[in-house]
């Protein structure tokens, strides 16, 4: 049976929290009402797990998760909208800064829905994960593919803070295993399109929660018989120059970085600067219409598949 992203993430939550002796899942409207469009379905049925419908107190709920982790109790804070987490930034920053060096004895997962479906207004449509990852000094896991979701929940078995982000636009889409060759790195999943060894190697690096544009770009390039790797970033954080992923990227003839986050500063920028210093041929696509985020809009991305593909074709 095919599952949607919502159903698949819900399944992963139920699997993970079924394995604990004591655990807590909490958030607003998670065990009544819409249950965050189904994300919270059945969470109150998990044995040995307490699922709590909470007050609207995001700052305190974030701290509550840290207190549970200090006490060896795994927990998940399910959050309907990423912007709610702004109220918990003191906890994500200050509390995590004191406790992140081994004092947290159980996982504390914060799963945020990124409201990217458009027309929600300048506040609800926040998508500024780079700033959150920077302030909290914790990576943010993009739940942008089945493989990403699997990896994120695998990593979330470790004690400590785990921030995850899911695209609202994706929630009703089908979440299936890729038919492509898949290579797992710590920081990303690499999807290999049919290799044509005679053609230039192109890497499409994607930072974000909805990777449909990166898939489309990769498909188009693949149709032109390029040797394409879609590098879907799993965790938003600094990519070390000594990492296997960085080495993989540097071996490409052409690199396209697509970042759909709305942050003013990006980890992807730092990566691009390092790659340029390394002499790589690279194009960077980021959303830069800050002014646009001050009014209701369709949340559309400013760049499109055809222009990206055309630029690559000309420049390689």
């Amino acid at each position: 049976m095919e599952l949607t992203f919502t159903q698949y993430v819900n399944t992963k939550i139920r699997q993970k929290f079924s394995s604990y002796e004591h655990s807590v899942i909490f958030g607003q409207n998670i065990v009544s009402g819409s249950r965050i469009s189904g994300l919270g379905a059945g969470l109150d049925q998990i044995s040995n797990c307490v699922a709590l419908n909470t007050t609207n107190s995001e700052n305190s709920l974030m701290g509550l998760g840290f207190g549970l982790a200090l006490s060896e109790t795994p927990s998940l804070f399910l959050m309907k909208q990423h912007d709610f987490a702004l109220l918990g930034l003191d906890q994500l920053t200050n509390t995590h800064n004191v406790l992140r060096n081994g004092r947290l004895l159980a996982p504390f997962i914060v799963l945020m829905v990124i409201v990217d479906s458009g027309f929600e207004g300048p506040q609800a449509s926040l998508s500024s994960l780079d700033e959150f990852a920077s302030l909290s000094r914790a990576p943010i896991y993009f739940l942008s593919s089945k493989e990403n979701i699997d990896k994120a929940f695998e990593m979330a078995s470790e004690p400590g803070l785990h921030l995850m982000a899911l695209s609202q636009k994706n929630m009703k889409n089908i979440c299936t295993s890729s038919q492509l060759q898949v290579i797992h790195c710590d920081e990303a999943i690499i999807y290999k399109y049919l290799p044509n060894k005679e053609k230039p190697k192109i890497a499409v690096l994607f930072f974000g929660v909805d990777n449909s544009i990166a898939h489309e770009v990769s498909e188009e390039l693949s149709k032109k018989s390029y040797c394409v790797s879609l590098i879907n970033i799993i965790k938003l954080s600094k990519i070390e120059l000594s990492s296997k992923l960085f080495y993989e990227i540097t071996q490409q003839d052409k690199i396209v970085v697509i970042d759909t986050g709305k942050s003013e500063v990006h980890f992807s920028t730092e990566l691009v600067l390092n790659l340029k210093e390394n002499g790589n041929n690279i194009d960077l696509y980021q959303r830069n219409s800050s002014q646009k985020w001050s009014a209701v809009n369709d949340d559309a991305i400013e760049f499109d598949v055809q222009s990206i593909v055309q630029k690559i074709s000309k420049g390689i």
């Binding site: 004591h22 807590v24 307490v50 709590l52 909470t54 007050t55 107190s57 700052n59 305190s60 709920l61 974030m62 701290g63 509550l64 998760g65 840290f66 207190g67 549970l68 982790a69 200090l70 006490s71 060896e72 109790t73 927990s75 003191d90 906890q91 200050n94 509390t95 004191v98 406790l99 004092r103």
Partner: protein, 290 residues
Amino acid sequence: MIVPVESKLAQKIKVMRNIQLNINKKMLEGQFKIPVHLAIGHEAVAACLAEAFSSSDKLLLTHRNIHFQLAFGATEEQLTNEYLLKSSGLASGKLGSMNLMNPNAGNIYTSNILGNNFSVALGIALSLKLKKQVGVVWVITGDGAIEEGAFYEAVLIASSLKLPIVFVVENNKWSLGTSISERRTEIDLSKFVDSMNVGFQSLKDNNINDYLSTMLKTREVVAVTTQPQVLEVEVHSLGGFYVDEDQDSKRYVNYHAGAIKIEPDENGIFEKNSTDPVFTSLKNSKTGSY
């Protein structure tokens, strides 16, 4: 010979005062690079809480934590070395003063951010409750931090989830260099917490018998009912000073941090009245010179 608890506490309070005065001397000599917030005048609440504290309890502190560290067993050497950021310090020289915690004594979190420790206490208390562990979470705060919205949220959640927490409010009526009357209206904490079905107790004048019996009773109520309580304790941060404000007027400024420049008497007493816990506890226990 059986030493009455009140005598034991009075002696402990005096020792805590003397150690703080020794640390003050080191501050005057410029030995520490980190900021230290002394708690001269706050000793009684910490000493009595340590006495009422059970081994299954947890303690969450603030930036001004030296009195609790001393009451919960830290030595002068451990504190001094911590403030000197030496590996032989209480937290191996890694936490300094304002985030200093001592997990071996049940103090598993300390925050110097106002209002930041309330919600962490919620999680710890929820974990105790879920695991059916007998224990109470004591979270320390002050009259400044209760102005944060985080206090309202935490009391509301603690009451809603019936969590075993005692919120201890050390009310010295000052926040940095600003008194309550200079920054806000008075808050009637008893009415505030009553509106959320939370119990309230208040203490003042450094009467250690009263402090200890109230804390023991409060602990029992919270442990049995798993209903939170708020305990407001009036404290006087001794070591304040006057500053020239206008041509002919001086303004009193409460002690906040750093070295105290005024000298106590030979017994370490700053005020011979109920504002000074060393004076009051020695007087009441009849073991000292007062």
